[in-house]
Amino acid sequence: MRLTVNGAQHHLVGLDPRTTLLDALRERLHLTGAKNGCDHGQCGACTVLLDGRRVNSCLILAITQQDAEITTVEGLGHKGEPHPVQQGFLDHDGFQCGYCTPGQICSAVGMLDEVGKGWPSAATSDGDDLLSDAEIRERMSGNLCRCAAYPNMVPAIRQAAGR
């Protein structure tokens, strides 16, 4: 089977069909940026972008994604330059241990895209600023951080959004 990750095609031989996308990335492709925090879709540490949308890769079987464009944290940024969200996290100390960080960053990239499309969140009411602090917090709440770097991630994401 094949997987397209960060623009590169990989052929995986003998992959167990039960393999999650997360384990395929980590154990077979050694793309260990995506983390395993729970394996049950409860923490967001494994977040990657599937055709640009954020997903929990621990909840997806790799074999079902042969036609998708998968982007992991390793694929963000350009020619050695960090992606604006990565830069925001660096500038605002948006992490401590760093284990939730790749998931937070991929999630934020996906979230900013959702906001760009005008998608509402549970915190949205008519005429709201879709990138208010309350909106950012609500939209990012699927990504847990036990170090609780939350207060620094909000300005990091706002900076990346050019706000």
Binding site: T19, D23, G37, Q96, C97, G98, I136, S141, R146, A148
Partner: protein
């Protein structure tokens, strides 16, 4: 050597490993590719007490290399920690105990085979419920870390009987689970007689020693690689069963073996904060001077290991009281062993003490800040935290009010945590061109250790930070103490300072200096503390009972702050974990099954982005120069000490309801609230 006027220490240097962490390049324990890697999956006990008679496996399971249990596992040397004697006997001491280890060529095969393993168990009746009147409770000799279990000064009974005002309350804290985002993980590989462990822990030197002893190896033969750690909060302070099992699996199969614990196992075999029942009696004069305190804690430990959460100890340390009695009792249950969790003792103990003092302040009609100031005559730094914190937060303008469905209130509480250092050794080597390598087996759990040690070395050697090459996170480097007890920066910074000074003193006659702090640490000033004060504004919904923390502010004395950027993150992280303790976190016991039923992140609720609104921390930044060469005090834990009490006190202020059993869940609050207008 050149000298620079700019001081690195005290500057907000960004974490050195930041670019690696945001790009996914930073490697955690289970992320080192190995040839012929095999995967271990632990089969955990489904009962809390009994005997394992046999393990039956399906020979048709594909890709399985071994199924180990006490019937076939190699014999290990007896460890000091009985929980590490894995697969060595038929005794089942807690639900979740590792009973068998499946090793297979893929994660999928290992997990499937582990599910198919049949355990033949003779189950026995278990006893898993903590009660303050449990008939088996006893007074231990010592409590964590090594304090006497009891203390008694003055005449507490007489003082309480004669006090014009008394408070007599019971506060209960539940089992709490560390849950670092990176579950414990190990890759083990034997390299001839040497054991290589890529392991997620807070103490590479200690893990090498512990695991080495179990396999009959000196610590030097065990190479523990701990480059990056995805949090620990205490649970990774000592070797856990995953490290021993991975080494065992590798020994048997001859392959490198990786074991990454599933999140569910993080609730049983890695430790937790034990529940406490605390009775606190306080006596005071009408103007709020404390005359007596009696603080008694009842808590639990496992059958395997006596670990006593020292919740009453903190009451010996904050306020001078002429008549003071403290004590602990412990009940050994058929439950997992509690271990360290961020501020063991202080975190739950300051809930009891600081909430009781809030009740006293209310009874007396005294400002809670003022009450604490009056009782801290010889603690000027604490008083400054109280006064300056109150001022910055706007405490004097606090105004209990209603806004639609929301009741708004304000609360505060004090904080304290011991300042200590432990023996460590560092090595500094001149590389030429004014560049230096600094080496110490410290672990950076996200505390910023790598960064602040670089800053310290840069200043001591008089070079810019770019010319310091720091090496940590490996047990083959000079021995370092545990990243715990808020002692890391003091312990390791002291060793680094010593090595740098020795190299400088040698004036170029040598290229390398090594410094061991053991002798100095033995003479360190005892009884010093970091301190702080937390201020909270909450709103409580009369419709749902939901509590929102609108503002949370902490003012701290951590001595000299080595890096304000990483320090602020640590303070805030602790305060938010304290918010979890006040509002969300609890292991919910199922007495029939003998386990916490909410053993995952969907049901054990830790704070999320949406829970954290306005939050900030500030500090005095006043070096305590006679403590260690940096004048610093640890700050990793003080954030969680006192913040839960501040929030609970604010809930009372808003609603008139005293929540004395944590967490302050909706169902505890709602029945007591007025109906919404």
């Amino acid at each position: 050597m050149t000298s620079t006027s700019a001081r690195a220490v005290g500057s907000p240097l960004a974490r050195l490993e930041g670019p690696a962490k945001v790009s996914g390049a930073a490697r955690y324990a289970a992320e080192y590719p190995q040839d012929h890697l095999a995967y271990g999956w632990i089969v955990a006990s489904p009962v809390a007490r009994g005997r394992l008679d046999a393990v039956l496996t399906d020979p048709a399971e594909e890709d399985v290399l071994a199924v180990l249990w006490h019937g076939n596992a190699p014999e290990l040397e007896k460890p000091d920690d009985p929980e590490l004697a894995v697969l060595q006997s038929d005794e089942i001491r807690y639900r979740g105990q590792p009973l068998a280890l499946v090793i297979a060529t893929s994660i999928e095969a290992a997990r499937r085979a582990a599910q198919a393993v049949q355990l033949e168990i003779t189950a026995e009746d278990h006893d898993v419920e903590l009660r303050a009147d449990h008939p088996d409770r006893y007074t231990p000799e010592t409590v964590v870390p090594d304090a006497p279990a009891t203390s008694d000064t003055g005449d507490v009974d007489a003082a309480l009987a004669g006090a014009p005002v008394t408070i007599d309350v019971v506060y209960e804290t539940p089992a709490l689970h560390n849950n670092p985002m990176e579950p414990h993980a190990t890759i083990a590989r034997w390299d001839g007689q040497d054991l290589i462990l890529y392991d997620s822990n807070q103490h590479p030197s200690g893990i090498a020693e512990t695991v080495g002893a179990i396999f009959g190896l000196p610590a030097e033969r065990v190479h523990v690689v701990t480059e990056h750690v995805g949090g620990g909060f205490g649970s990774k302070g000592s070797a856990r069963p995953n490290a021993v099992l991975a080494a065992l699996g590798s020994l048997v199969t001859g392959r490198p073996v990786q074991i990454a614990l599933p999140r569910q196992a993080m609730f049983s075999m890695v430790g937790h904060r034990a529940p406490t029942v605390q009775r606190i009696r306080v006596g005071a004069t009408r103007d709020g001077i404390l005359t007596a305190i009696d603080h008694q804690t009842c808590t639990q430990s496992s059958r395997l290991f006596e670990f006593v959460e020292s919740a009453s100890v903190v009451t010996r340390e904050v306020y001078p009281v002429p008549n003071l009695r403290t004590g602990h009792q412990v009940v050994r249950l058929d439950m997992p062993t509690p271990r360290w969790m961020r501020a063991p003792g202080e975190a739950p103990g300051m809930v009891g003490l600081e909430c009781a003092l809030d009740e006293l302040a209310a009874e007396l009609g005294v400002d809670p800040v003022e009450l604490r100031v009056r009782n801290s005559p010889e603690n000027p730094r604490y008083v400054e935290c109280l006064r300056s914190g109150a001022e910055r937060f706007g405490w004097s303008e606090r105004d209990r009010r209603t806004d639609g469905e929301w009741l708004i209130g304000f609360g505060m509480a004090g904080a304290t945590y011991p300042a200590q250092a432990m023996p460590s050794t560092a090595r500094v080597r001149a590389l030429g061109n004014d560049e230096y390598e600094v080496a110490i087996a410290a672990a950076d759990l996200g505390t910023g250790a790598r960064t602040i040690l670089t800053q310290i070395a840069a200043d001591e050697l008089g070079v810019p930070v770019e010319q310091i090459h720091i090496r940590i996170g490996n047990s083959t480097l000079p021995q370092a103490s545990v990243a715990g007890g808020s002692s890391g920066s003091a312990s390791w910074g002291w060793a680094v300072t010593g090595a740098c000074r020795e190299l400088r003193a040698a004036g170029g006659s040598t290229e390398e200096a090594t410094f061991d702090t053991t002798a100095l640490v033995q003479q360190q000033k005892e009884g010093r503390h970091a301190s702080g004060a937390h201020f909270a504004e909450v709103r409580v919904s009369t419709v749902t009972g939901e509590v929102r923390v609108s503002r949370l502010f902490g003012m701290f004395d951590g001595g000299r702050i080595l890096n304000p950027r990483t320090a602020r993150s640590q303070f805030l992280g602790g305060m938010i974990m304290g918010m979890g303790m006040a509002l969300h976190e609890e292991g919910v016991l199922d007495p029939a099954q003998g386990t916490w039923v909410n053993h995952d992140l969907a049901e054990y609720h830790i704070p999320t982005h949406a829970d954290v609104e306005w939050i900030d921390a500030a500090w005095l930044d006043a070096p305590e120069s006679d403590l260690n060469p940096m004048g610093s005090k640890g700050i990793g834990e003080i954030g969680i000490v006192g913040s839960p009490a501040a929030i609970l006190n604010a809930i009372w202020h808003a609603t008139g309801v005293r929540i004395r059993s944590l967490p302050a869940r909706l169902d505890k609050l709602l029945p007591a609230l007025p109906s919404p207008r």
